[in-house]
Amino acid sequence: MSSPASTPGGRKRGRNTNPSTRKFICFSVSLLSKNPESRRGGWSPLRLDMSSPLMYGTPSSRVEGTPRSGVRGTPARQRPDLGSVRKAPQVDLHSDPPRADGASDSNTGQRLVIWGTDVNVGTCKEKFQRFLQRFTDPTSTEDENAGLDLNEPLYMQKLEEISVVGDPVMNVNCLHVQSFDAELYRQLVSYPQEVIPTFDMAVNELFFERFPDSILEYQIQVRPYNALKTKNMRNLNPEDIDQLITISGMVIRTSQLIPEMQEAFFQCQVCAYSTRVEVDRGRIAEPAVCRNCNTTHSLALVHNRSAFSDKQMVKIQESPEDMPAGQTPHTTIVYAHNDLVDKVQPGDRVNITGIYRAVPMRVNPLQSNVKSVYKTHIDAIHFRKTDQKRLHGLDEEAEQRLFTEDRVTTLKELAAKPDVYERLSSALAPSIYEHEDIKKGILLQLFGGTRKDFSQTGRGHFRAEVNILLCGDPGTSKSQLLQYVYNLVPRGQYTSGKGSSAVGLTAYVMKDPETRQLVLQTGALVLSDNGICCIDEFDKMSDNTRSVLHEVMEQQTLSIAKAGIICQLNARTAVLAAANPVESQWNPKKTTIENIQLPHTLLSRFDLIFLMLDPQDEAYDRRLAHHLVSLYYQSEEQMEEEFLDMAVLKDYIAYARTYISPRLSEEASQALIEAYVDMRKIGSGRGMVSAYPRQLESLIRLAEAHAKVRFSEKVETIDVEEAKRLHREALKQSATDPRTGFVDISILTTGMSATARKRKEEVAQALKKLIQAKGKTPAMKYQQLLDDLRGQSETAITKELFDEALRALADEDYLTVTGKTVRLLA
């Protein structure tokens, strides 16, 4: 390896580091007179040069001489994230000949600002200390502040925490700084590499004043995060260079650790005199002459005694949600330094706060023509994983989408309209014709109920998600509806029952090809946590696969015990499933269960079960035809006009889901109770039960969702009415006993209608009588028995019915069935 000190002369010339610096001081001052904002139009390397790494002896530069009194010799750690160490002058504005009138306002005495900026170290330090001492945020919801007294100064508590824990890092929320002192915030964002060291200095002074006895490994480092300029990667432009930015993205690659030299140690080969040289903008200037013995070119680099710091390259990519359609995601390079190395893994969603940099391409000494492109990267100061807590607890913050004021007003206006419910439901999948109630059901599913947490009282979570099953004839655009929903919600998953296994739905353990570690790969259900999981061809799913849905659809969790990994994952997902009837065409003479052959345990977990049938009536056909024909000649603009924009709908749902959590009003609870009692009553007259507590819960959820649609914090009677209506509609369609025409919920809960059960008993009794009439025949032919029974009975007896009757008698220990013979017992 060649010595890094051997910087070729030509290259250095090309870089043209130093002579120019002096010249620009005058300029810097005149520059200051302008409003700093106005300079952001175009970025020039001048700014890079002027505002490049600055340090002021303390705190972060190496403690070489006497330590400062307050800091007690705690070593400072270099901050490569802010740029390499370099001493830079402070400019005394008043003593410079070309007076700048604007910048040096009325402050008394000398006003020192850091060269190239308008930052006065003293003022800045003072302000920040005041911020630390005074700032409180009583409404804070950040998880990091859990356990802190919100009415006390927040950051003083954090300092206390540092003194206890000994982790010398102080995370500062930029929003707090902004609300406390907008000017300070502006300086922080515009000149991070000058202001952050000042903050460091301030916090250390304060800390050691407070806790003079505490011992820290290093001096405290301030890590600001959540700069307001939170940006989409796509919006980064030359104006952002050297500013503090926060961007979000997904880590796609991390490099190995790179040792980066911070300080080179040289030793003279002749007299063993040693000297240290700090890195200056990525270069080390090799001393040509030994200062001790004046020998030229006698100094050699000693690697072991040089100082290195860790560095890692992290590549992040735009998150898929931020991207315009039809484009590929952008990537950005991020450098992580020191303890931020290995903080993130590929696949993590992160918010990165850092300084945006642009470096000219390396100059080739042999060529005067060079590539005129800059390399850009971000020096990371703070990482914040956004999906860190996916496995436990709600990540409310990540969910929160930023809505502009305008948008909120539009949404509220929309919500105030009396027909908002109808409007929204018709905006849903406009290409699908009619099925108004189904659309309404899906709309309520999109909003969901209110999340209730009784885990503190030991009753656990109550499901807030609404599950819907669509079943019906093929070709009734079920799949299309599913596709639409999948495209509408941010966390939707779309799977087909035919193609998915239990593993694909839940989670599986696999060996990471690179690290050889076991990793948990999550499946569709977990991925759609807080979203909607659309499952097409639900009927084609294997029983094994379906069985995992039981837990998900009621408890909303997923238990995994595989390859030594035992855990419970959250799967608070609403399920939207579509199933085809077994005989490919819906048989109206059969019940839902018989038509789709799904276990009733699963069916009862669906809040709404809709039949999508071909209504086969003329008026409907006509409207359908009209609708379809219009699809084929209307221009796109015309379609847009007619319906609500999908984006508005998306925002509306997101807003309601985030901000609205309706509670039951007194009247509404009364109405619900009545509704439930009524439902139970309907059947009780005929010995049937038409409602179970699960149905009551469904009603509550639906009513809450409907209140959300209205942006109402209270569930009122109208919500309950609509919930009742919708529930009844769905029931009417799916739980109607085809034999009697009555609604009978037991079809869903036991898989058999009350009349069918009665009928089964009758047949069993008839069969028993028949057998008894035959007298003492211990064994009978199965077929013959069936024929006999058919001959005797006045109603048609199907083979299934006969089998069921036999089974019922077998259960009574009256007979056994072996193969084709029926034997009497006892």
Binding site: P238, S368, K371, H377
Partner: protein, 634 residues
């Protein structure tokens, strides 16, 4: 023929001139002016034909820093880059400084002993976007030839060019007529230089391209389709890059940059050169290779102006150059008038090709002019995937059919659905995070490309996981006209409009909008002779034009016809509700739409509706007969 104007040879001089004058005057709008200037020039009559095209002129014939055009598809979008928009050069000896413009260049330019002053306060950093562009995948030979033939560019070989006289696909036989368009100038120095060994020279010429392809393959130019040739290009976009989308087809007019410095910078990277320089360690070797390939293989093109191509049919005038709209109008109306007659011609030709089956021929025409004209939420409208079942396996019927389609449509691809192909091929583009690029797949195609799936090649056997996902991808493409690109951590959906034609023996295992069972009128033994006739070029051109025009026509349905269609539907349902579903109506409406367009009618007439209905009935009765041929029936 006028001599090549300066703005084609020296576009940078024009830019520099505008830049310099803007430095003196107060007007800062020089950038817009520069773009306007070139747009205006290109609007002049035939001006765009003088610009040499990267598609048909080999790179080494083109003058560096001259204006060229490139007909291409955006295969990948790289990250935006910052460059020196304005920079200052200083001469240390004389202490003079000079402002220069860095736009439309890759490399800074300095005079002798001048240096770029990085610390100058006059430097302006600007942003540009890079697209990786490849020639339109599956573009058929006749399209390439025709575009090349219409070019009037005078290609003056640069003094240092490596002589290998290859202008485009060298196996083509109508070398004669393109000779005329090629200026004499070019051939003379060429023959002069290579008097010795004429035979050698000839060989050199033909081999040169193949060696280039050979060297390119180890670089992997990332063409969507296997076996593609042609230059790929890094296009630098200076404005409005958000308006471009992946897979858009463009004709880019831009300044060619092949500076060897670009490659030099890339080559120089050896391990020890610079350990400390941060800019070096952040890119892997693969990434370097992809993002800064040698300029001799992947030239850079600095876009001045780009025109979206709605079609790549050379016989149809390209749309956006506005001033010739009158002549376009004229051409359109004349074709419109001819359409019914051309259609008859095409129908009889197809009937012939499809072994005398007129119904299948009708449907084939409809299929070839179909396009996704709109999307209603997730539903693509206007797609018309045709499943031609009952294809004879004998006499390589499917290959012949494809060859004929190839002669008619501008771009197409034949995908034999053999087990091996399905298991091995990469259909869906995948992001390679190491090299940081989108590795292309067969389904990354431009709009309106014909994809011919030959299912007769499928034999029993097992599909491995790749095979299954490939088949799923094909299914998604057909039903939703979208391809989910694989980004490893997530998938991203890209809409497309690809005409899929499935040739199979029984009903296809893939979904389709419409299945027609072929009824051969010709006994198998005679098939071979039967199919070998192909119309003449002039006739072919008429058919080609017809197919492209029919696709671009607008369409509407009057209220009156709407009413009658509704009535019809209600009546049909009345008779037998099971037989006609909403899906059938969808299909009938598409058929009616395409049928009208194929006849040159821009609105639906009652006649066409009835004809469409009739066709559908015939087709359905035929499908009924052939039910249960294999197990793919629902």
């Amino acid at each position: 023929m006028p001599s090549t104007p300066d703005w084609i040879n020296e576009p940078l001089a024009v830019v520099q001139g505008l830049f310099a004058s803007s430095q003196n005057g107060p007007s800062s709008e020089w950038e817009a002016k520069a773009v306007e200037f070139f747009k205006d020039r290109l609007k002049e009559k035939d001006a765009h034909t003088w610009v040499p095209s990267l598609n048909d002129v080999p790179l080494h014939y083109l003058k560096p820093n001259s204006l060229v055009k490139f007909r291409c598809l955006i295969q990948d979008m790289f990250d935006p880059e910052f460059y020196m928009g304005v920079y200052e050069t200083a001469d240390p000896a004389t202490k003079t400084k000079e402002l220069r413009c860095g736009k439309y260049r890759d490399v800074t330019e300095c005079g002798v002993r001048q240096q770029v002053d990085y610390n100058s306060r006059n430097t302006v950093t600007a942003e540009r976007q890079t697209f990786y562009c490849v020639p339109i995948p599956g573009e058929n030979a006749w399209v390439k030839d025709s575009y090349a033939g219409s070019s009037q560019a005078r290609v003056v070989p640069s003094t240092s060019y490596a002589p290998s006289r290859q202008k485009r696909s060298y196996e083509e036989d109508d070398e004669g007529d393109d000779m005329d368009t090629q200026p004499q100038k070019q051939r003379e120095p060429h023959s002069g230089q290579y008097q010795h060994g004429n035979g050698d020279c000839k060989r050199l010429e033909t081999e040169a391209p193949s060696s280039q392809v050979g060297s390119a393959s180890h670089l992997d130019l990332n063409f969507p389709l296997p076996g593609e040739k042609g230059p790929s290009c890094l296009v630098k976009v200076y404005e409005d890059w958000d308006s471009f989308k992946l897979n858009d087809t463009l004709e880019v007019y831009g300044i060619l940059s092949v500076s060897p410095a670009l490659s030099a910078l890339a080559d120089e990277k050896d391990a020890s050169s610079s350990f400390l320089d941060p800019s070096e360690s952040m890119e892997t070797a693969e990434e370097q290779r992809v993002h800064s390939p040698p300029a001799s293989l992947v030239p850079r093109l600095h876009m001045l102006y780009a025109k979206m191509l709605r079609h790549n049919n050379p016989l149809l005038p390209s749309v956006p150059l506005e001033d010739n709209s009158a002549c376009k109008e004229e051409l359109l109306s004349s074709t419109l008038r001819d359409m019914p007659s051309v259609r008859t011609e095409l129908l009889s030709f197809f009937t012939h090709v499809l072994l005398g089956d007129a119904l299948a021929a009708e449907y084939l025409i409809l299929h070839l002019i179909s396009t996704v004209y709109s999307r209603r939420d997730v539903l693509p409208l206007g797609k018309f995937t045709l499943n031609l079942s009952g294809c004879p396996t004998a006499a390589s019927f499917t290959e012949r059919l494809y060859r004929i389609i190839q002669q008619l449509v501008p771009s197409s691809f034949y995908l034999g659905m053999s087990l091996q192909n399905m298991n091995r091929m990469r259909l869906v583009p995948k992001k390679d995070y190491v090299a940081n690029r989108l590795v292309s797949g067969v389904l990354q195609l431009a709009s309106n490309t014909s994809l011919f799936l030959d299912e007769t090649q499928l034999e029993p056997g097992q599909l491995d996981p790749t095979g299954v996902s490939n088949v799923t991808a094909l299914g998604n493409l057909i039903s939703w006209q979208k391809v989910d690109y694989d980004f490893n951590y997530h998938q991203m959906e890209f809409s497309c409009s690809i005409n899929v034609l499935i040739a199979s023996e029984g009903r296809s295992l893939l979904p389709s909008d419409c299945q027609v069972h072929l009824q051969s009128q010709v006994p198998p033994p005679h098939m071979e002779d039967y199919m070998s006739s192909i119309p003449l070029t002039a006739q072919l051109n008429k058919l080609r034009l017809y197919l492209s025009v029919a696709r671009l026509l607008d369409y509407s349905i009057s209220d009156e016809v709407t009413k009658s269609v509704e009535d019809d539907f209600v009546d049909m349902r009345k008779d037998d509700p099971q037989s006609v579903s909403a899906d059938d109506l969808h299909r009938m409406l598409v058929v009616a739409r395409l049928l009208s367009l194929s006849l040159g009618q821009t609105s639906l007439s009652r006649d066409s509706w009835h004809r469409a209905k009739h066709m559908e009935e015939l087709r359905r009765s035929r499908v009924e007969q052939h039910k249960s041929v294999n197990g793919n029936e629902p």
